[in-house]
């Protein structure tokens, strides 16, 4: 190309508008920013804007009081506002969902800890009873005096328990373990949901 020559500028309005008609909105706007002449040509190319309007919003309204460009601008601004509001509403919805899930997960973890404590208490009590039973049996046999005294002292501390208490404890442990299992499962489910919602939030914010 010859230096300083600008063939596209020497084309007449009609040809420039034919070219503009082939462009998408973004390229059209960019072309309008190239030079003041092109800006005027493109702003006046109402047929092109009519095409853009119907491409973006479907069939245009019948009669027009203002130019197609102005109509397009107004409609696009309105749509953009609507989209922004919708987006904010969506973000808020997902955020609140994340909060609820976070609370649920936290509560679930607390319950799991309580259940674990209960299981440990029951197991400890069972061990104590078992120990006492063994001590009782040991007292029946001969032991060195000093050991026997120690065992007797221990035996006196432990409340006298029945066989049914042990069974009761076994059942309790079983119940707690079952509850624990259920809680762990729901924790897993809730955590997965939480992760999913967080990803969704990220995706919306990243758009």
């Amino acid at each position: 190309m010859r230096p300083g020559s600008c063939p596209i500028l020497t084309l007449n309005d009609e040809l420039l508008q034919l070219i503009a008609a082939q462009l998408e909105l973004e390229d059209l706007c960019n072309l309008g920013r190239v030079s003041s002449y092109l800006n005027i040509v493109i702003n006046n190319a109402d047929d092109v804007w009519k095409g853009i309007y119907s491409q973006s919003f479907g069939s245009p309204p019948g009669s027009a009081s203002s130019s197609w460009r102005e109509q397009f601008r107004d409609r696009a601004a309105e749509d953009s506002r609507k989209r922004k509001l919708l987006r904010q509403a969506r973000i808020m919805r997902v955020r609140s969902r994340v909060h609820i899930l976070e609370r649920d997960v936290h509560r679930c973890q607390q319950q799991i800890n309580t259940e674990r404590c209960r299981v440990n208490t029951c197991v400890a009590e069972k061990q104590r009873i078992e120990q006492a039973r063994q001590l009782g049996a040991a007292l029946q046999c001969w032991q060195p005096e000093i050991v026997k005294n120690h065992h007797e002292a221990l035996f006196a501390q432990t409340p006298i328990t029945d066989e049914w208490r042990t069974r009761e404890l076994d059942m309790e442990i079983q119940d707690h373990k079952l509850a624990l299992k259920g809680l762990l499962r729901s924790l897993q489910v809730q955590s997965a949901q939480l992760e999913k919602q967080r990803m969704r939030l990220q995706a919306i914010l990243g758009e």
């Binding site: 190309m1 010859r2 230096p3 300083g4 020559s5 600008c6 063939p7 596209i8 500028l9 084309l11 009609e14 040809l15 034919l18 070219i19 503009a20 008609a21 082939q22 462009l23 998408e24 909105l25 973004e26 390229d27 706007c29 960019n30 072309l31 309008g32 920013r33 190239v34 030079s35 003041s36 002449y37 800006n39 601008r73 696009a76 601004a77 953009s80 989209r83 922004k84 990243g206 758009e207």
Partner: protein
């Protein structure tokens, strides 16, 4: 089939079928005038003072290709699917020209009024513009930025409604 002679601005003659030449509506109406004046038998010479030899040759390539048998000329002839695809490929290859050639071609297509070629050229130019920033377009076409600073900012702002939406918002 009749042949006609198209004479370019630099005096070179091109002999083509009247069918191919008639793809240009300008030539077609000139031919009709000539036929009425000179009669059917005399050789038909059409002077085209606005088109140089090199560009005319390129335009005629298009006209000949698009009047080959099986081409949809006036809508009477059924165009087969393969023929249509072949023509599309041919058109794409035909458009592989420099910006300067393209510019002369679009001027010629406009003057000679060859609708198909004109559309093809406009598409070709649009393709050169597509995806380029204003600065990039200026560089490519050797234009200068003749906006005032304030004016440019104003245009950028009023353009914002079209482009801002999702893209720019996401950046914030």
């Amino acid at each position: 089939m009749r042949t006609v002679i198209l004479r370019s601005s630099d005096g070179a003659d091109h002999i083509v079928s009247s069918e191919a030449a008639s793809l240009s509506r300008t030539v077609q109406s000139l031919l009709e005038e000539l036929e009425a004046k000179e009669g059917e038998e005399s050789p038909l010479i059409v002077p085209l003072p606005n088109v140089c030899d090199c560009t005319l040759r390129k335009v005629l390539q298009y006209c000949i290709q698009h009047t080959e048998p099986g081409t949809n000329l006036t809508g009477r002839i059924h165009v087969s699917e393969t023929r249509r695809r072949d023509l599309e490929v041919w058109d794409r290859n035909y458009m592989l020209v420099s910006t300067d050639e393209l510019y002369h071609l679009v001027m010629a297509a406009h003057y000679l009024n060859v609708p198909g070629l004109l559309e093809l050229c406009c598409e070709g130019i649009a393709n050169l513009i597509r995806g380029k920033s204003p600065q990039h377009v200026r560089q490519h076409f050797g234009l200068v930025n003749n906006f005032e600073k304030a004016e440019e900012e104003d245009i950028r702002r009023t353009n914002l409604w079209a482009l801002v939406d999702e893209k720019e918002l996401a950046k914030k």
